[in-house]
Symmetry: C2
Subunit: 255 residues, 2 copies
């Protein structure tokens, strides 16, 4: 079972869009996948069509020990894809977890209970580097970093890399960077190309070949509660994320 966190504290860079569409593509290719929504905004939850009112047991209840992880897993419209939803309750978790014993290892301990139940676990992180994201990093094998092809994209990277290093040194020595994914690429904008070149210099050999271009179907599909591969499988958005899944599956052969 490989656990990958989708993280970047910069907001709106495509964490949720990547979490949903990568996990749906992994499921589509036959790898059994669990998507965990760790953001109190619950965008991954609604993006796969789960109504917030229907959720009784979210990741919040699992983190604070009120619910067993197995009871919080829900089906989605895609074979081989399950989800643990989020809810508004998660807002309070950041502070609650601070006061708990072994606070950095809470999620790691929980996920050890479902070890080997899935091929992949994909964790959608909130736009911050607090206790919740720290738990995701401690529980993960690797981190996939979505980076928007925009100027501010490079600004926060130092902070993110330092946090990953700190977690690797203190809580999870096997943590690695799965790769850097360029998102919302627009070939008509020079800045987009400049940012990609710049990122490749910072992360030699870590930038995925797959680049996700700006694509209206990716922005529309969550309003139908469907991953793009179900909404419009021929769209650039769906095809790109399928390519990304294949790239990750290929790498995994060597694990």
């Amino acid at each position: 079972m490989k656990i990958i966190s989708i993280a970047n504290q910069k907001g709106g860079v495509g964490k949720t869009t990547t979490s949903i569409n990568l996990s749906a593509s992994l499921g589509y290719l036959g790898a059994s996948t669990l998507l965990i929504d760790l953001d109190s905004q619950a965008n991954s939850t609604s993006g796969v069509g789960i109504k917030k009112e229907k959720i009784e047991k979210s990741i919040y209840e699992v983190l604070i020990g009120k619910e067993d992880i197995l009871n919080s897993i829900m089906d989605t419209d895609i074979d081989f894809l399950d989800i643990i939803p989020s809810s508004i309750n998660l807002v309070g978790a950041e502070i609650e977890i601070l006061g708990m014993d072994g606070r950095e290892y809470i999620l790691k301990k929980i996920l050890s209970k479902i070890n080997k139940l899935y091929d992949y676990v994909i964790i959608d992180c909130p736009p911050s580097l607090g206790m919740i994201t720290l738990n995701a990093f401690t529980a993960s094998d690797s981190i996939l970093i979505p980076i928007q092809c925009e100027y501010y994209a490079l600004e926060g990277l130092g902070q993110l890399i330092n946090t990953i290093k700190a977690v690797k040194n203190n809580f999870n020595s096997s943590l690695d960077i799965e790769g850097v994914l360029m998102t919302m690429f627009d070939p008509r904008i020079n800045l987009s190309k400049e940012v990609i070149n710049n990122v490749k210099k910072h992360f030699p050999n870590k930038v995925f070949h797959t680049i996700i271009s700006r694509n209206v179907k990716l922005a529309e599909s969550p309003s139908y509660g469907k991953p793009c591969i179900l909404y419009d499988s021929t769209s650039n958005g769906a095809v790109s994320y399928l390519e990304l899944a294949k790239e990750i599956l290929d790498f995994s052969k060597y694990f």
Copy 2:
């Protein structure tokens, strides 16, 4: 002195772009303005051309009481616009403030020391609703909410409104919503128009007439360290934010 927070916990909706370009436009129109960067990513700071290495006294040192607010104010390239920069140190502030006396009122007390020094104070908030954003809300007269013309934009609004109400009931009874600003509008995308109609239903009479369209100059100007009005004053981006500033100044006549 009117204090307006630019806030929305959803990431990447245009908080920083609005903070920089609205405050630059207010300054351009002759209203003396102070921009405060409350996000540890320090995007507003670099977006007005301040190099992170040059900062000795950021908002972090002011919040924890190590530095007087007057010593942290810096000039910008625009007359009538000053800034209090952010820095990476702010990452630790969320937890440090939790343990301080009168923790919700720290920023309010600090800003009372510069009362009447400026016509406007604009606060760029991080993409979360933690202690830092809570401090901004407690210190503010009103909140300007940027909303992206995208599906997920509506999801987190309930959480934001509840937080504003909670602050109004417990810490700052005069807090109000300055208005809702639609950002990154793309007339070619149906979803964009649907989101605007939906937001207008949720916030009757609170949505600004000015709508900010997607505009490449707005995305490029931070890479030159300039507000859009200095980078390309004839661009749609610069013109829209000038319109917004006029709309706000107009409203203020009745205060």
